[in-house]
């Protein structure tokens, strides 16, 4: 259950989850609840797939993916920050918009039932052999882990894992991070310190869009070769669950996503197999487990997940 192949697939599954989870972290740490991670990933996957196909350039595809996700994030920001609308409703709207628009435009532009055509050479991020991967392959355990588990992924996987310490650093070692964390806890404290709550939250939402953009692009131009309908397939929600499970902390977020990725890898590997002492475990159990764990955590039965204090609440200065 912990063989290299399973772990390898865990890494691949986790990478987009980590990106989306960190995306949500920026937004929610600033006090803007985002259940639209799914939609932003989907939009980005489509943008990336389409542009990578047309330009045969994976990097341009990535840029396009990021652009789409940022636009969707700005819509969410406009609704929830500027208009002080309901953030949950806005997130639901973003998910619907992305689901419909990607399929509709995909069909209009490529006429392949909402998918984009397979990517040409150069349109996809290939796997990267790390130095000495082949040489170390025969060293037991350590070499194996290096050459088979750590080496051989595409660049976005490495970006995803690099984003974890980077996000931690931004959050806890920069001015922006300090203010971001403050505005999610007590926007009035930020306001009285002479900082614009609105602009700060917009920047958080944009950061969320950028990371969702990378996450979505990963799906269509790194993991697969091209976009297919509804390809986010609930990953945005899993990422949201992971974010709660991680108690809104970057390091925890990575572990939560790896755990959920492992469950996914197991679900696939153990299909129809007997687990000694337990018997056959239905694949759906593994699918549901991330959500079940999150609910149990939320209910305070294992630790307590306390969201940023001001999350979900529009900031209103004037008294009513």
């Amino acid at each position: 259950m912990f063989d290299i192949l399973t772990l390898d697939s865990m890494v691949r599954v986790s990478a987009p989850l980590i990106l989306a989870c960190l995306a949500g972290l920026y937004s929610e740490r600033s006090g803007v609840v985002d259940i639209g991670l799914e939609g932003k990933m989907l939009g980005a996957a489509f943008g990336a797939g389409a542009i990578a196909y047309l330009t045969a350039n994976a990097w341009l595809g990535l840029l396009a993916g990021i652009a789409v996700a940022v636009v969707l994030a700005l819509i969410h920001g406009f609704a929830s920050i500027t208009n002080r609308g309901n953030q949950i409703v806005s997130g639901v709207a973003i998910n619907f918009l992305a689901l419909g628009l990607t399929a509709l435009l995909g069909q209009t532009w490529f006429r392949q039932g909402g998918r984009t055509p397979p990517l040409p050479e150069g349109g996809r991020f290939g796997s990267i052999e790390l130095p000495f991967a082949t040489e170390f392959a025969n060293v037991p355990i350590v070499g194996q882990i290096y050459s088979e588990l750590i080496s051989g992924h595409n660049i976005l996987v490495y970006i995803a894992f690099a984003m974890v310490p980077l996000t931690w650093w931004i959050l806890f070692r920069t001015r922006f991070g300090l203010r971001l964390r403050a505005v999610g806890e007590n926007p009035a404290a930020v306001d009285t310190a002479g900082i614009s709550v609105t602009w700060l939250r917009y920047r958080a939402v944009i950061a969320c869009g950028i990371l969702c953009g990378v996450a979505g692009s990963y799906l269509s131009i790194a993991q697969s070769s091209g976009f297919i309908r509804d390809m986010a397939a609930g990953r945005g929600y899993i990422a949201l669950a992971a974010l709660i499970f991680a108690k809104w902390k970057p390091g925890n977020a990575m572990w939560a996503c790896l755990l959920f990725g492992l469950l996914d890898a197991w679900a696939f590997r153990l299909q129809g197999q007997e687990i000694p002492g337990i018997g056959q475990v239905p694949v759906q159990f593994f699918q549901a487990l991330p959500y079940i764990l999150t609910v149990i955590l939320l209910a305070g039965f294992i630790g307590k997940a306390i969201p940023p204090k001001a999350s979900g609440e529009p900031y209103l200065k004037e008294r009513t």
């Binding site: 920069t174 001015r175 300090l178 964390r181 403050a182 009035a188 404290a189 306001d191 009285t192 002479g194």
Partner: protein, 510 residues
């Protein structure tokens, strides 16, 4: 007072919708002094200070800082002008360390590293200069409120504030912490800072300020040198020589005890004990008034007796029926069954649902009464008939029970609540701030009703911060200070004496 004043305000006005929170305010604050601004809750003190700190904008009027006319569109500008503010509700991030809170908004550079070490040095300098000691790495949520407040002061000083505004700084402090704060403020003044102290506590004004200005109902009514005034004079200025009509009433004929409270303790959500070992009784046919400056535990006392808050200890008897409030919270519905009526202090927050129609509000808390039900259904014709009868009897205007109560004036809203609670014929009626935000005509009406209720042999417990109201209605007056009942006086209590009790200056219990 010599030299340019630190702050000068000229004809400041601010309205919130129909509420005129500040009317033509003039104020001169001398440099290097402690200037107190005193007034009742809702007198407009906090609004005025928020304008000075750029949190709100005045509708018109001028602000001069160091003799120069300035406009303060936001807090950033205020900070740049050397104005710092310690808010009544601390503007701190609970999950942050002291250091993080201090540098928030004044980090210096995009990376925290340099700013943090600079702040650390600066904090230890401030600690030496002013005696403001706090562990810079402690989390705010782990600090007692006194230290949290110190962090607020440090925040302002770290930003180079020369003028420090403190809004009701002692509201959350123990007396010892308050004394410590005053010593700090004196040090600050002696080092050349200007301090503006907003409070409603006379004792503080007398203890610490050099000059005092009094606000009442949005207006600045007087400014005095502290050494040349007295507590009774300030109390009179604060409350105002009232235009209240004296209520005509016969002497009370108290009967048997209808409500008895023994050894009541209440701890609020912050873990602060707000009601301390309170015991008293109310007899049939008398109005017992609880006087006190707001925030001394009266609100919590009232809510606990009504079943809204849980007590940590204490026994309650209503008409001889005993309940142990320390064990379980008696639900408000059960309290009503025991014969308790409750006119809550804040009708908007609790007493009414302003978006409901008048007739729907007329059964709030009594919606399970079989009179208004047909099985699981509401008997709307019966409810409306009852509502219309109350509208008639209490002269509620406009006389339309279909109208949302949001569209009623404050006085009529209060009559809706009063009618609802009195017409259920309670054994004891709890009444909080019955005339807050109510026009003169309605005040007279409400007072009459309360006296009638008394004369009908009911017990009334009246909580009010309006001393005149207490004096004209109550047959016995209990004064609350710092969660305790510090004295009891008869119907004709002397105003000055009550004022001193309310200020915590003297008390029978001490």
């Amino acid at each position: 007072m010599t030299g340019t004043p630190a702050i000068e305000l000229r004809k400041i006005n601010k309205r919130f919708g129909p509420v005129h929170a500040n009317k033509d305010i003039d104020l001169v604050v001398g440099k290097g002094s402690i200037h107190g601004i005193i007034g009742e809750n809702g007198a407009g003190k906090s609004t005025l200070m928020s304008i000075l700190y750029g949190f709100y904008q005045a509708d018109n009027g001028d602000i001069l800082v160091d003799g120069k006319k300035v406009s303060i569109p936001d807090s950033k500008t205020a900070i740049a002008l050397g104005i710092g503010m310690v808010h009544q509700h601390f503007m701190l991030v609970d999950t942050f360390t002291v250091l993080e809170n201090v540098i928030l908004g004044a980090e210096g550079a995009a990376l925290l590293g340099g700013g943090v070490s600079k702040a650390r040095k600066e904090l230890s300098r401030l600690e030496n200069d002013y005696g403001l000691k706090v562990d810079p790495d402690a989390l705010i949520q782990d600090l007692p409120v006194g230290l949290q407040q110190r962090v607020e002061i440090l925040k302002a000083l770290y930003r180079g504030a020369d003028i420090l505004i403190l809004d009701e700084p002692t509201g959350v402090l123990t007396p010892a912490e308050a004394d410590h704060l005053f010593r700090i403020l004196e040090v600050l003044r002696d080092q050349g800072k200007t301090v503006l102290l907003i409070t409603h506590k006379l004792r503080e004004i007398m203890a610490i300020t050099d000059t005092v200005s009094v606000m009442r109902r949005g207006e600045m009514v007087a400014t005095r040198k502290t050494s040349e005034t007295s507590m009774p004079e300030l109390a009179e200025l604060m409350v105002g020589r009232s235009v209240l009509l004296q209520v005509e009433k016969k002497p009370a004929k108290p009967g048997k005890t209808v409500m008895k409270v023994d050894g009541l303790d209440v701890i609020d959500s912050r873990g602060v004990k707000v009601v301390k070992d309170v015991s008293f009784e109310v007899r049939a046919g008398e109005i017992v008034g609880i006087a006190g400056v707001s925030g001394n535990g009266q609100s919590e006392l009232l809510e606990t007796l009504a079943g809204i808050r849980k007590a940590s200890k204490g026994t309650l008897w209503i008409d001889g029926d005993q309940s142990n409030l320390g064990e379980t919270r008696i639900d408000p519905a059960e309290m009503r069954d025991k014969g308790l009526g409750h006119v809550p202090e804040d009708r908007h927050r609790m007493g009414l649902i302003t978006k409901f129609a008048e007739y729907e509000n007329s059964i709030l808390g009594y919606h399970k009464d079989p009179k208004y039900a047909k099985g699981p259904f509401l008997d709307i014709p019966a409810i409306k008939a009852n509502a219309n009868a109350e509208i008639e009897k209490y002269d509620i205007r406009p006389p339309n029970c279909q109208l949302k109560t949001a569209n009623f004036s404050g006085g009529n809203q209060q009559k809706v609540v009063l009618a609802r609670e009195i017409e259920r014929d309670p054994t004891v009626l709890l009444v909080g701030q019955p005339t807050r935000g109510v026009d003169i005509g309605a005040i007279e009406f409400i007072h009459k009703r309360l006296v009638e209720l008394r004369d009908a042999g009911k017990g009334v417990l009246l909580v009010s911060v309006e001393l005149d109201e207490i004096r004209s209605l109550a047959d016995r007056v209990l004064v609350m200070f710092d969660g305790k009942i510090v004295g009891e006086r008869g119907a004709q209590a002397d105003e000055g004496e009550l004022g001193l009790l309310m200020a915590g200056v003297e008390g029978d219990a001490r």
